[in-house]
């Protein structure tokens, strides 16, 4: 067991370093030139071991979807490195990338628009297998039927069209399509956000079972902390193109470090009237600023109740506050003075971050 873990840790499945994706905004009289940039993903680093699930959480416009698409090279990164199974894939050509595509699959949010309405389920699930040469002839049909059965549909659904299914069932088709290619990594971009509560649980439990069965590694994206908790081993919180905190799943919920994580947790309504009456939730003011012109220093300082002068001047580095909690904050929460004093900057820290010691006692509380 220990040995197995040792070999596993040697080579992470996915290692992303200082990944940047800026979308240029162009304008001009006759010919276009760049006038501004949307800083969708700005110096993000993350590491994913085999068999692990990373939850990626953030509100709309934080860059989580762009990050997913960029690290699968569905969008070209502006700069930075992406290593998959130890191999750099950031700079290689689409042709070289093709065999790797099979190993990295994506499940999309909208089960209505991500399936071709004119193709039958059998084709939707079977064609990618055929295309990648995983099966031929009658084998395809047999494998598709097995897959359908595995994701909770039945073999009779083979000849049906997507519109004949409910949202939850369509998401199952999307999962079967991804699974058919025997991928190592599945990036699930808000796979349950469009589904009803009772169906959400079914899909999450299914993904959980499949992970054990096929040894899958997941990146699971969500816009709030409620959904990802069950499935994630670690959770990364994004705000305006940056990862502001990464922590083991349980730890993030009990001892969040970054004020934004605190606010996200506080914003999820507690389905318990008595506890609700007692608590005083932290409600953030204002809206998320534009990623075209993000705030200086810590990008969260405009909405942070604990912000001080340093927050608008110096970008906080990502630091290890112990127990696997890595966060970028000048005034961390749920951190003791000793932990703050011994915290060290991690190599994943953004290159633009300044050098400032965290201070548990903020200027105003």
């Amino acid at each position: 067991m220990n040995e197995e873990r040792g070999t596993r840790n040697e080579e992470p499945l996915l290692e992303v370093r200082h990944l940047v994706k800026h979308f240029p905004i162009k304008s001009g009289v006759l010919l276009d030139r760049e006038v501004a940039r949307v800083q969708a993903v700005d110096d993000v680093s993350l590491t994913l071991s085999e068999g692990e699930t990373l939850g990626l959480v953030g509100e709309s416009g934080c860059g989580k979807s762009t990050l997913c698409r960029t690290l699968l090279r569905l969008i070209e990164p502006t700069s930075g490195s992406i290593r998959f199974e130890g191999r750099e894939i950031g700079g290689i050509s689409q042709r070289e990338l093709r065999p790797l595509r099979r190993e990295m699959q994506m499940i999309f949010q909208d089960p209505f628009s991500s399936l071709n309405p004119r193709r039958r389920v059998g084709q939707i699930v079977g064609d990618p297998m055929r295309l990648h040469g995983l099966a031929e002839g009658s084998d395809v049909k047999r494998m598709v039927e097995e897959l359908l059965d595995r994701v909770g549909l039945s073999a009779e659904h083979y000849n049906r069209f997507p519109h004949e299914f409910s949202g939850g069932q369509r998401q199952r088709i999307g999962i079967a399509r991804a699974l058919g290619l025997r991928p190592k990594l599945i990036v699930a971009d808000e796979p349950v956000s469009a589904l009803d509560v009772s169906i959400q649980a079914q899909i999450i439990n299914l993904l959980d079972d499949l992970q054990d069965e096929f040894g899958l590694t997941y990146i699971f994206v969500a816009h709030d902390l409620g959904v990802v908790r069950h499935i994630s081993d670690r959770i990364a919180v994004m705000y305006l193109g940056k990862i502001v905190e990464t922590a083991p799943a349980q730890k993030l919920y009990t001892d969040p470090v970054h004020p934004y994580t605190v606010a996200l947790l506080s914003a999820v309504p507690i389905p318990d009237p008595k506890e609700n009456r007692e608590r005083e939730p932290l409600v953030l003011e204002g809206d998320v600023p534009s990623p075209v012109n993000p705030p200086s220093g810590c990008r969260f300082h405009t909405r942070c109740p604990w912000a001080s002068a340093v927050c608008s001047e110096i970008e906080p580095p990502l630091m290890d506050f112990g127990e696997g909690r890595i966060a970028a904050c000048h005034h961390p929460r749920n951190v003791s003075a000793e932990q703050a004093a011994s915290a060290e900057v991690v190599p994943e820290s953004p290159q633009t971050a300044g050098a400032a010691r965290p201070d548990v006692e903020p200027a105003q509380a």
């Binding site: 009772s198 908790r229 309504p269």
Partner: protein, 341 residues
């Protein structure tokens, strides 16, 4: 005082595939100044029921029956013009997606002024003052300037504030909020819920909040009605629904909530199966095919009535014996829907 009393509301739509029983005998009431939460999953009829109360589903292929007494008048029986005068005036409504719910071609000031002048014979300048006053009330900074902005120039949260301002501009007695926070980010949802509560305190209106999220209900509602497949399956006070739930569907909903303040369960509790088609709902109790506790009697439709001597206003549609329910809903020390072993 009861402000709105809906009795045996039926809304059926004739379609090419057959008759869709979107709302199948729904009764509920709202007290003045109180908040009723109507909870259910998509397609359960919670929106259609409320749209129908305001006459917004009237069409040649809709069959609507029952009654909806609002201050003594039956809204379902009112003529178009009389009902128009109530809509947006005494009973207003806001919707899920504030971007698609605002007209993209008019600035928000114009859209608010239109709402004022639909019910009050006042000059545009006075209507504009009123509009700006409301924009300020809902927490929009620099309202006079913002009134000239178009919906697409605002954030989602700001747009929903505009929708709320537009609904409240004529000081309605009832506000129907149909999934008002579903399209918003969590931190913005918290802002909007806080705003709705503040406005209700200040203006004293009654609110019907339609949502799929029991968490939202727990924050704002006084009373809760749980809907499933066109019917109300349980109706009680907030505490009754959360601590003494009587219907297995309610147990399932409560059980499948993820509680961030509790240790996570080994496995996420789920309700098996899918909601039935409203074209051909099952005989008897609509939840029967998904219910692990169903028995022969469930082939008959259970009436919505009180089955607890100590809580005469706590209504449900389940044939199980109340004592039996208490033991059956306990799953690993919490409420849930689990098949008996």
């Amino acid at each position: 005082m009861t402000l709105l009393q809906v009795n045996d509301l039926q809304v059926h739509f004739e379609t090419e595939d057959g008759l869709v029983r979107a709302v199948d005998g729904v009764s509920f009431s709202v007290e003045e100044g109180k908040t009723l939460g109507i909870v259910g999953e998509s397609g359960c009829g919670k929106s259609v029921a409320n749209l129908s109360v305001l006459g917004l589903t009237r069409s040649p292929n809709a069959r609507i029956s029952g009654s909806a007494l609002f201050e003594g008048e039956d809204l379902l029986a009112l003529g178009t013009e009389r009902l128009r005068r109530i809509r947006g005036n005494e009973a207003a409504m806001i919707f899920q997606d504030p971007l698609s719910s605002l007209h993209p071609f008019y600035d928000i000031g114009t859209q608010l002024i239109e709402a004022v002048q639909a019910h009050q014979n006042v000059p545009t300048s006075a209507a504009r003052d009123r509009a700006i006053e409301l924009l300020e009330l809902v927490g929009i900074p620099d309202p006079a300037r913002r009134a000239d902005h178009y919906p697409h120039e605002m954030s989602g949260g700001m747009r929903q504030r505009v929708m709320i301002a537009m609904a409240l501009v004529n000081e309605p007695k009832l506000l129907i909020a149909d999934e008002p926070t579903t399209a918003l980010d969590v931190t913005i949802q918290a802002q909007i819920l806080q705003l709705l509560e503040r406005l209700q305190d200040e203006l004293g209106m009654a609110v019907i909040i339609i949502t799929h999220d029991l968490g939202v209900v727990a924050e704002v509602a006084d009373r809760v009605a749980v809907m499933y497949a066109g019917r109300i399956v349980e109706d009680g006070t907030l505490d009754e629904i959360f601590y003494e739930p009587q219907h297995p569907y309610t147990w399932g909903l409560l059980g499948s909530l993820s509680r961030l303040d509790r240790p996570r369960p080994r496995r996420l509790p789920q309700i098996p199966g899918m909601p039935p088609s409203l074209l051909a709902p099952p005989e008897g109790c609509h939840f029967r095919p998904r219910c692990p506790h169903a028995f022969e009697k469930c082939q008959e439709v259970p009436p919505l009535e009180s089955r607890l001597a100590e809580a005469p206003d706590h209504l449900d549609r389940c044939w199980l014996d109340p004592d039996e329910k208490r033991s059956k809903r306990e799953v690993e020390g919490r409420i849930g829907l689990e098949a008996p072993d």
